[in-house]
């Protein structure tokens, strides 16, 4: 038959492979004309995939920050021009970082959520001697074995999350002599978090009765829920990431399980998506929209006015990183990365919209700042779709050093490569 298509399975597989390849190569962007009256900043973060929803908050927030900075006259009298791209995956992130630095001549790169992509961007940053500020990658390894002189971290490391939430669990009597069951995202972030969680449990006299690695594309948790029900843990520990946390919370409520829930990695957008009644447990965050400080109120007000909804914690990271960059360039009257790094390593202080100022620790470039735990409100106490939790006090407390929750040198040591 002359008009039948040449259609074979082999051909089909070839076509599918070709498509997959084509989709992983970034679309070319228009070459930007260089100009002397702007300072370019690169922003890279996942905008698609399972971290995409959080990345979108980062994008909204950095847009707002740049708008505010430019309205006040920019930096060194020049406007900031933001170049934004979807980082997609570690390979693409590295390619795009290279292009932003070498072709578009950005002063620095801000962003990211995936720990794996942070590492590939940091390698480019180190090689090209350009500053990279990580706003969302949590793994301790990025501040330890993989640390880089040209990488700074506004996002807290896993150790800080674990110690912050751990304090709440210690207070609630859920650690010593207790049994935990954990679900862990099966990639760099999750593995690192599991290691830190286990170290915390060992140090405080608790044990794990179950510990499952969850593939990042898993959406159904019923098989895990049956195992958790069977194990009768004292605390269910969720070390998942992105939409998986929402899926888990919805299905946990669906199956009617009532063991206390906690987790060491969290984003408020995921709680909002789970909704009242489904959202349960106590979780650590770097920041949330209900913090009672003038800075936070102003930021939440401006964000809500511009976008019609309050910012979630990822928004804080990208917003504050942009503000730190602008303030530093203005203070130094220079946007050169080596000078920038020297200034931060000397312990420059920054307003972080919290009760105390913070600074970057010179030994691993981690921002030292207050963290918070949020605890889900029971469904009948929830007044609107955003304010579905209550906040604990800042951790560390007012009389403690900010460094008490960070990883110690013994736990995670960084020797910057030359």
């Amino acid at each position: 038959m002359p008009d039948t298509p040449q259609f074979t399975r082999r051909r089909l597989l070839q076509s599918a492979g070709g498509l997959a390849l084509a989709s992983s190569i970034a679309a070319p962007s228009v070459l930007l004309a260089q100009s002397a009256d702007v300072i370019r900043i690169g922003h890279l973060t996942p905008r698609t995939g399972f971290l995409g929803p959080l990345g979108e908050y980062g994008v909204m927030a950095i847009d707002l920050a740049v708008e505010e900075i430019n309205a006040k006259g920019g930096v060194m009298g020049r406007k900031i021009e933001l170049l934004k791209e979807d980082s997609v995956n570690p390979q693409t992130a590295s390619t795009k970082a290279e292009r932003m630095i070498e072709r578009d001549k950005v002063a620095c790169i801000i962003g990211e959520i995936s720990s794996a992509s942070c590492l590939t961007i940091a390698q480019v940053a180190q090689r090209t001697k350009t500053l990279f500020i990580n706003t969302g990658g949590n793994s301790d390894a990025l501040r330890g074995s993989d640390c880089k002189r040209y990488m700074f971290h506004v996002e807290s490391q896993n150790s800080m999350y674990v110690k912050t939430a751990g304090r709440a669990h210690l207070r609630d009597g859920l650690v010593k002599g207790k049994k935990w069951y954990s679900l862990t995202a099966d990639y760099a972030f999750g593995h690192d978090l599991l290691k830190v969680s286990k170290r915390f449990m060992e140090a405080n006299g608790g044990q794990f009765v179950g510990d499952d690695l969850v593939p990042t594309d898993a959406a159904d948790f019923s098989s895990y829920l049956l195992k958790i029900r069977d194990a009768k843990p004292d605390l269910v520990v969720i070390n998942l990431a992105g939409n998986q946390i929402t899926n888990f919370l919805k299905q946990y409520a669906e199956f009617g399980l009532t063991f206390p829930v906690g987790g060491f990695g969290f984003d408020t957008a995921l709680a909002w998506a789970a909704g009242k009644g489904n959202f349960v447990g106590t979780w650590p965050v770097v920041w949330h929209h209900l913090i009672e400080t003038p800075g936070t109120k102003a930021f939440v007000g401006a964000f809500t006015k511009k976008y019609g909804k309050p910012p979630e914690n990822q928004a804080w990271g990208d917003y504050i990183a942009m503000k730190i960059v602008a303030q530093t360039i203005n203070d130094l009257k220079s946007a050169e990365s080596p000078k920038f790094i020297e200034h931060l390593e000397k312990g420059a202080k920054f307003d972080l919209l919290k009760t105390r100022e913070g600074y970057f620790r010179a030994s691993d470039h981690q921002l030292m700042h207050e963290m918070y735990t949020v605890t889900a409100l029971p469904a009948d106490k929830v007044k609107n779709q955003w304010d579905i939790f209550t906040s604990g006090d800042p951790v560390p407390g007012p009389d403690e050093s900010l460094e008490v929750i960070a990883a110690t040198k013994e736990e995670n040591s960084c020797t910057f490569p030359a």
């Binding site: 038959m1 008009d3 039948t4 298509p5 040449q6 259609f7 074979t8 399975r9 051909r11 089909l12 076509s15 599918a16 070709g18 498509l19 989709s23 905008r47 698609t48 995939g49 399972f50 995409g52 929803p53 959080l54 990345g55 979108e56 908050y57 099966d186 499952d212 690695l213 969850v214 593939p215 594309d217 898993a218 959406a219 159904d220 019923s222 098989s223 895990y224 049956l226 195992k227 029900r229 069977d230 939409n243 929402t246 899926n247 919805k250 299905q251 669906e254 199956f255 009617g256 957008a269 995921l270 909002w272 998506a273 789970a274 909704g275 009644g277 489904n278 979630e312 779709q385």
Partner: protein, 290 residues
């Protein structure tokens, strides 16, 4: 005991894949189009549920949302798919791949990237406990609806004049043409059915999954695996494969190899293809194999 629960739960899980995979298989068998946009229709079905529920409740969304998605399916079949039935398959792959991206981005522009909140309707909450096995009441309802749809589809394809023409078209479209029957309206009907089923799956899973623009991607890959394992053109092949994929995933988690639960279904696909290159119940289709 726990393993028995996992086996049962795995089989039940397979039912979700079934709704997606059956439509995928139908559209592929009749028109030769690998619909990479199938997951996008699933997502549209879920988002429509959120839009419709405030006015007509979950019940209203359950009826209206798949119908709207099916109408969208007819529109796309009439304007786009029909141009590609006889062309190089890479073109229809590119078309549906592009369509999937357009749909995902459109959802992102309209509803925003963050996941939206949606819960199980009050009347369908609660759990069913049989012996030591616990299951969600909502999922029992979900599976009931899915099984009814699958049974209805089987009846339509096997016992009606419509189904006879469709099955003949799958086997040999030119012969159907020679007999003076135009396949065009059947193609549109099959696209509406297949895509409508994806929309229905979207409605059914919206209460228990995170509703976000890329949610289709989470379910489309296992659905493709199901179609390949089951074999093209085989109704029961897809049914058996869906249950098998659910079972393998569930048991892998149950026996403590959860990290390999996704890899296991690809391994299963590999094994099936090695032993039976046409899939479990795949028939020889002259038009696809030269």
């Amino acid at each position: 005991m726990l393993l028995m629960q996992q086996i049962l739960n795995g089989l039940l899980d397979g039912v979700y894949y079934l709704l997606i995979a059956l439509g995928l298989s139908l559209i592929f068998s009749l028109g030769g189009i690998v619909n990479l946009a199938h997951g996008a229709f699933f997502a549209i079905g879920a988002y429509l549920t959120l839009v419709i529920s405030p006015y007509l409740g979950f019940g209203g969304a359950l009826v209206l949302s798949p119908v709207l998605v099916a109408l969208l399916g007819i529109l796309i079949e009439r304007t786009l798919f029909r141009r590609f039935y006889r062309s190089d398959p890479i073109l229809s792959l590119l078309l549906t791949f592009g369509l999937a991206m357009v749909a995902e981005q459109a959802l992102r522009m309209i509803f925003g990237a963050p996941p939206l909140s949606y819960s199980i309707p009050q009347a369908l909450r609660g759990q069913v406990v049989i012996g030591n096995f616990i299951y969600s009441f909502y999922r029992v309802v979900l599976i009931g609806i899915a099984v009814a749809c699958v049974a209805g589809l089987w009846f339509l394809l096997q016992k009606t004049p419509f189904g006879r023409v469709v099955r003949a078209g799958v086997q040999n479209p030119d012969m159907v043409g020679a007999l003076g029957i135009s396949l065009q309206p059947y193609m549109a009907a099959v696209a509406a059915l297949g895509i409508g089923l994806a929309g229905l799956a979207g409605v059914l899973l919206a209460p228990i999954y995170a509703v976000h623009p890329a949610m289709g991607n989470e379910i489309i890959t296992p659905a493709f695996v199901v179609v390949v394992i089951g074999g093209l053109g085989s109704f029961w092949g897809v049914v058996v494969a869906a249950l098998l994929v659910g079972l393998v995933k569930g048991v892998m988690v149950g026996i403590g190899y959860s990290a390999a639960s996704t890899a296991a279904i690809y391994f299963l696909m590999l094994l099936v293809l090695l032993v039976r290159p046409r899939g479990l119940f795949g028939e020889r289709m002259t038009r696809l194999e030269q």
